[in-house]
Symmetry: C2
Subunit: 226 residues, 2 copies
Amino acid sequence: MGKIKEKAVCLVSGGMDSLVSMAMAIEDYDVCMMHAYYGQLTQERELKAFRDISAHYSIDKVMTFSLSTLAQIGGSSLTDPEIDVHTGGLVDGIPNTYVPFRNAHLLSAAVSWAEVLGASRVFIGAVEEDSSGYPDCRESFFRAFEKVVVEGTLPGTKIEIVTPLLHLTKTEIVRKGIQMRVPFELSWSCYKNNEKACGVCDSCILRLRAFEGAGLEDPILYEEKG
Amino acid sequence: MGKIKEKAVCLVSGGMDSLVSMAMAIEDYDVCMMHAYYGQLTQERELKAFRDISAHYSIDKVMTFSLSTLAQIGGSSLTDPEIDVHTGGLVDGIPNTYVPFRNAHLLSAAVSWAEVLGASRVFIGAVEEDSSGYPDCRESFFRAFEKVVVEGTLPGTKIEIVTPLLHLTKTEIVRKGIQMRVPFELSWSCYKNNEKACGVCDSCILRLRAFEGAGLEDPILYEEKG
């Protein structure tokens, strides 16, 4: 008889990183999937990816929730239609796709749900070095957030923030996903398009580079490959 | 010529504490008011209190936002209609009105907005000792959250979490409010009712005791005084 697994809340955007992070969680935990939408340009496409992934893994405990306050606040090309998503290739500095303090909102929601579920882990597929340099993707941010969880939840609550991909390269993440047979074809990373991935936004460039590094073809369709 | 004031985002629930906290902020800052609703029983009444307070102080920069994920998650008598709000008088331990990790959601929203506005302060009217003992109202929680803000926002961002009431008694808060002529008659604290305050939920009991301690009559209407 198997031991009853502890629960883990997995934040799943629908992109390649959160998919691999969740696949890693499934090996040891009873996974509850959580997804936020916030008026980002590809909101509907990401929701579809989330649903396809939950169906693929037959996860029953799923929650999608609105973070509409991020759309109200704006300040990012993902949520403000007046700001163009950067497409000229990767550049130094933090790109305008940064959504101010977004991961604090995601972690807050995941921790609230974990507290009610009695889950002991929150998984998030953040990548620190080989990505866009968002401040809320840094190791120091997640470790600081763990202290907030200790202080801000009921006595006796133990919820660890797990970031299994934090120091991997995107190519290593693709390799890991392939080993675990994750359905990359169901995931969606493009910041701009909902039908065929644009191939030229930062997220597409990072994804294409990751597959190229692994010597593999990305199974999703692209308009062009920038 | 006056110096241009720095901006502060004030979280205002519509209750007596956040009203006094905001009144203190107004003395030194250009105040932007923020209010969350999350399916709590008195959602409409609190929104009215928020609007009345913003009108009283002629604050133009206001944002109300939905935290519907807290209603989806439940786990509190304020958001789950199947759990009765406790009314038998104050008891030891953390009451079922605790909304799991709620203040992390509120602070995340306020910090995101502050980052976009260029505000240097976030005010929250939390009270640690003389209140219901919620873990996310402790000094240690707020200080830990400040570290998260440093790590999770753009380089150069400086946002301090200000908790001016944290170590005051509720009676001291009433006295401070009276000195500043805050419109307590516009505020709403009751957890249960939307017309006349119930007088018997923990929040009403704490408020009534606060006014009694200050030797003053609470200007709002009560069904009974528990």
